[in-house]
Symmetry: C2
Subunit: 403 residues, 2 copies
């Protein structure tokens, strides 16, 4: 009865937010802030769930949960969502609808219905089965950093791992694809109509380029970059910002369209930058910083910045650092590139200045590994798992990554 | 022996700075801040010059100044600059070279050499001739607001008027063209290789569109607009900014070129805006403000803004007003559009906030009349002329305009 940790990163959009709505290429990378999950068998027939980040602490009897034994495409998820099952589960969890808590619970039970194998065995052998499922996330919820995708990837990986789907002979690519597809199912439960970018980045790690309606492609040669991530705590209003850009584009298409083209070309230039072999890393970072600067400028010109985001720019620019908003803008988060030559003292100063404005700062990297699994030698208590902090999980060296 | 005032506006670039370097269209308008000139005959053979704005107070004997009696293309200026004359005059004025003061003096003497007719008459009749020439300008010198062009247009008009070139039967267009061509000569004396845009805007008034190597065209239907002009007092560094944009364009041509296209299209959209007949003025101003906003954003994205210019944007944006840098950027001036519905109280508040930052604010309009002449009934003293303030000249109703 093994105990597993699974771990999956959040994501940030590096370049191309908003332009992606108009069919342009965008670039996203995995974020060093991750969700970490404990999954281990129980023997009392219960799923014991602890998700403190969304205030979900609950236990369900496995025998009460619907179970799908066969389906088209096994072991990959069915091509269409099982709406009947979704409705059943909605009634079953009996939590206020469409809260982070209820969506997280339903996503878990939806994947459980397909992937859980040990409850059948338990019935036959008289054992009750069940498992502990706990998640701690270092990602702020609802900040555009892919916290739900990192949850979905952790969840899919945990259930696939516990039920033996990842221990077969398949290639790493096959296993990664299986995880990503089930994580996408969980994302659909949570979001309705997700793009699939967040779960893909979280599964693969590194950086990807994507375009509406086209396959998400890893960005070749991408090197991990250090960033200071600043949450302005100004609520994002994604729909409002998207609508404002649309209004501007409809008023002045001849002006706005080439701006969207320019943003598209920033992602292409970023790709070209990492494709150059043997280049000096400080040159790479300097060029990347310039792209950061220009992309923010174009987003501001499209009207999606915010005084708080401009404040981040003002403070970082005084220290010679390049920042841009990330995501829909109008609030939310900004990324500040920390070049390799930036001293810890400078980072401390900028953090202090930003925090004095009421912002929340986190040092992190972009482009690190995707989903990972760790098999523990012995069961641990949920309390012990929940007591571990970000540094504990980051210090673990022997994750098995699928990227 | 009549006494004349001449008056000519400065200019501001409304849209297209920097992009114009790459062959894109830009838009400029005449500025409500003007230079005003007194010219009247003397009988002692002296040109008595008072230009307090460039610290030039001098008197020259007419008989010592070279005189060109005939030239190709008369009365229009010769097609090439008279370099021999320029050298002679440089020695004659005996002021430190290439100061605003020496250039203003040489420009005056250069035009005098061609245009002065009364010194010949004086010699024959035993009268000594001569004239007073005094200028007061409301334009800050070296702020990118066309102060030298407004001086050049005032100067050309004053000498043409005093010497009878503007009193013939020619059309207004002919006279305007004669003024503009001589003003361009003065600009060449002052700047070496001017574009001709500043003197054209100053002569014509209103607004113009221009493109490198093409004819400067008036912007049809342009309506006068109110602006708050803010001088950040941060010195401009035109060459540095132009070079920085060039560097960015060379590094990322595929990104920067569509940005320059977008700026081009802002001027085109501005033209289209004013070409629409019977449109609501508040709608026009709202659209114009959006173009102001986007153009500044694009300039900032090109890297030519400055914290002081961003401060102007921040303050005006809090009061719901749209601003952009004007000119080369990296310092210099910003324009804030004052819509018709903006109350005097709001204008007072924004001025107060901007002045508290150490900036200099001037309320003015863009798109007013070009060069004007006023014939006074009786001579006045230089001291009296110099005592008049901006409001005095603005209150004069019966200027003869050539636009």
């Amino acid at each position: 009865m093994p105990t597993y940790f699974t771990s999956a990163p959040g994501k940030v959009i590096l370049f191309g937010e908003h332009a992606v709505v108009y069919g342009k290429v965008a670039t996203a990378g995995s974020l060093g802030l991750r969700s970490n999950t404990l999954i281990q068998n129980r023997t009392d027939g219960l799923i014991q769930v602890n998700l403190p980040d969304v205030q979900l602490v609950s236990a369900w009897k496995i025998k009460d949960i619907p179970h799908q034994t066969t389906w088209e495409g096994y072991p990959y998820p069915p091509s269409t969502m099982n709406m009947t099952l979704l409705e059943q589960l909605g009634t079953f969890v009996d939590l206020a609808e469409h809260t982070n808590r209820s969506q997280a619970a339903i996503a878990l039970l939806y994947l459980h219905s397909y992937l859980s194998t040990n409850d059948d065995v338990d019935m036959a052998g008289g054992i009750q089965g069940g498992y502990d499922f706990s998640v701690r996330s270092n990602l702020p919820v609802g900040a555009g950093l892919g916290s739900s995708a990192s949850y979905s990837v952790c969840l899919a990986t945990a259930l696939l791992q516990l039920n033996g789907y990842l221990s077969g002979e398949g290639t790493k690519e096959d296993k990664r694809d299986l995880i990503n597809q089930w994580a996408f199912q969980a994302e659909k439960v949570i979001h309705g109509n997700p793009s699939g970018i967040d779960n893909t980045v979280s599964t693969l790690g590194g950086a990807v380029m994507f375009k509406k309606g086209e396959k998400i492609e890893p960005l070749p040669g991408f090197q991990s970059l250090r960033f200071l991530l600043t949450n302005t705590r100004v609520p994002r209003e994604t729909q409002v910002q998207v609508a404002n850009v649309r209004k501007l584009q409809e008023k002045f298409p001849s002006v706005v369209n080439p701006m969207l083209d320019a943003i598209h070309e920033i992602s292409v230039s970023c790709k070209d930058l990492f494709a150059q072999e043997d280049q000096d890393r400080s040159h790479l970072l300097s060029r990347f910083g310039e792209l950061v600067d220009v992309n923010h400028g174009l987003l501001a010109a499209l009207g999606v910045s915010h005084p708080a985001l401009e404040k981040v720019r003002e403070i970082s620019s005084k220290l010679g650092l390049k920042s841009k908003l990330t995501g829909a803008g109008g609030g939310g988060c900004a990324l500040t590139l920390i070049r390799d030559d930036v001293t810890p003292e400078t980072v401390a100063v900028i953090k202090q200045l930003l925090e004095a404005e009421g912002f929340q700062c986190m040092e992190t990297q972009v482009g690190g590994p995707g989903v990972g699994v760790l098999t523990l030698g012995a069961p641990i208590t949920i309390a012990e798992f929940l007591s571990h902090d970000r540094a504990y999980f980051e210090a673990i060296q022997h994750w098995t990554y699928f990227s």
